[in-house]
């Protein structure tokens, strides 16, 4: 396996008026391809900030972030957009589907920004929807779908670009337990069967339990990094 994400001493410092907020205080992280990582921690611990940086939505103040060996800090806005478009899939807590737009078209969105021909967009988007079990619902609008189904559309939108990295920011935060389980099953399957690297932010321990590795953040630092053996019988936890 090769290193997909390498973070070296990443700092993120905001200025809120006169107050300096250190959201990330020296993150060192290595994630290899095919990993399924859960990031846990209290709110304000820097999880979301780290996700934004990993998702190339934000630049670190200091430190290096290599995605597949490419130093992201040196890239311009358009190159970052292209990385987000081709290598990263986002799944958000509140789904973030475009309203009054069909499921299929929501999934087409990243392909639309690639300038892909419409027919090809539709084929790929329909495939992605089928992979999350939503065949036959291509024409439904988000308002006609349940929360779980909406989140599956969002996963399909992340999948359709065949990303190297799927970032899920509390994907089950707005879902009931049945839907949560469905979503987590889909994510686990994608990780296991297709080897998609997944980084998941969550509050809930049972959701984090789906992951193979668990990071705990506190005050802008990673305070624990555990690899979890995935046979359910012996839950052997190694602490690094």
């Amino acid at each position: 396996m090769s290193a997909l994400v390498v973070c070296e001493d990443i700092w993120k410092i905001y200025r809120l008026g006169d107050v300096e907020v250190q959201a990330l205080r020296g993150i060192d992280l290595l994630i290899e391809e095919g990993e399924f990582v859960a990031i846990m921690g209290a709110s304000g611990s820097g999880k979301s900030t780290l996700m934004n940086i990993l998702g190339c939505l934000d630049h670190p103040t200091r430190g290096r972030y290599l995605l597949r060996g490419v130093d992201v800090a040196g890239l311009g806005a358009n190159q970052l957009a292209e990385i987000r478009n081709r290598q990263i899939g986002f799944v958000f807590q509140n789904f973030n589907l475009i309203p009054r737009t069909s499921a299929l078209e929501n999934v087409q969105l990243p392909l639309f920004y690639r300038g892909m021909p419409l027919r090809q967009q539709r084929v790929l988007a329909a495939e992605a929807l089928a992979r999350v079990g939503l065949q036959g619902r291509e024409g439904h609008y988000p308002s006609q779908l349940s929360g779980g189904q909406q989140q599956r559309v969002a996963i399909a939108r992340a999948l359709v670009v065949s990303p190297s990295l799927l970032l899920a920011d509390e994907p089950t935060g707005n879902l009931d337990s049945t839907s949560s389980q469905e979503i987590m099953d889909i994510l686990s399957r994608l990780n296991k069967e297709q080897g998609i690297t997944i980084i998941l932010v969550t509050h809930e321990i049972d959701i984090a339990a789906y992951a193979k590795r668990e990071l705990v953040m506190k005050d802008g630092r990673i305070v624990a990094d555990r690899h979890i053996a995935r046979d359910a019988s012996s839950l052997s936890v190694e602490t690094s």
Partner: protein
Amino acid sequence: MMIFLWLTALHALRVLSRNRLRTGLTVLGIVVGVGAVIAMVSIGEGAKIAVAERVASMGTNVILILPGAVTTSGVRGGQGGAVTLTTADALELKKRVPLIHEIGWGRRDVLQVVNGHKNWNATVNGISQSYLSIRGWSFVSGGPFTQQDLETAAPVAVLGQTAVDNLFEPGEEPVGTIIRINHVPFRVIGVLAPKGQSAEGRDQDDVIFIPFTTAERKVFGTRFLGAVGALFASTERIEDLDQAVAEIREVLRQRHRLQPDQDDDFIIRTQVDIGKVHEETGQTLTMMLLAIAAVSLLVGGIGIMNVLLVSVTERTKEIGVCMAVGATRQQILIQFLAEAVILSMIGGCLGIVVGMLGVQTTTTLAGWPTIITPETVGAAFVFSLVIGLFFGLYPANKAALLNPIDALRYE
């Protein structure tokens, strides 16, 4: 990129069709603006051409020479205050200015004309034989008088249409009838084709032409023989007008023995001069109406900007999502610009239809001449497009410059 643009346009159309009422109200300003531009320019162009036609109806290559003011011991008489032009001047000009193709003269007076129990006060023109052809008159029946009529001061008359209408019953044939002008009997030998109003708004058809000699000897009376009210010269080509005017002036100054420090005792005008004045008036009018149209387009543009700003705020989160899935700033910019341009283009097309209907109605109801040229329509359309681009730029730029993280978090 082309695919992206095409899909963006489709997408923008969909977004706009979702909110039809808002879209409709937004484009209203542009519709009114473009409609006004079309209507105004068409009416303006129509008026301009109507003026040009009227000027042309008087003959475009005609030089008009009028008696001018005579200064006697420092007292300047008004225009036409003295008899300074004669038939002899005309003949001399014809001899000495080779650019002159034809020269004619006339004197006019308003006199009572009687036919049977009907009477009418018409402008009676005593004219030389070449006058009618110089001024471009044609006949609907009968014909002009001859050189012999002139030499013998024959009592014959040619009538304009208005004079005919007022002196004869409908359907009555004027040619061959005897009418009385100032108690002198005249035989009608021709009826002229109507010319309509002159550029000054005078009815050119309210006229009776008689031989100049007959006029001065039998009808008007004269202070001395050969005094004329005006000379008319024509050139072969319009381009020769200026040169001919200069030469005529020289010859007349010599003949009238004017010292270099003395003013001309005559006035030379060409139809081109007269036409220019009217064209300028028309242009002023068109410019004024265009200014009004521009104001309504401006208001329409501001409407588009306003709606787009609201739309950007409403869709902040959506924009954040688009950026997260890889939309570049330029793509977001183009998306919102496309909406603005499509809005204004819809407005432009509707405005063109409204403008054309307005023009049609004006022509039918008010009877104004109007002309819709493809240039007008094209310009109006392009103008609406530019308005869309201009007023879309600020909101689109605002959308494009959103920070993706803030946009995603926006509630």
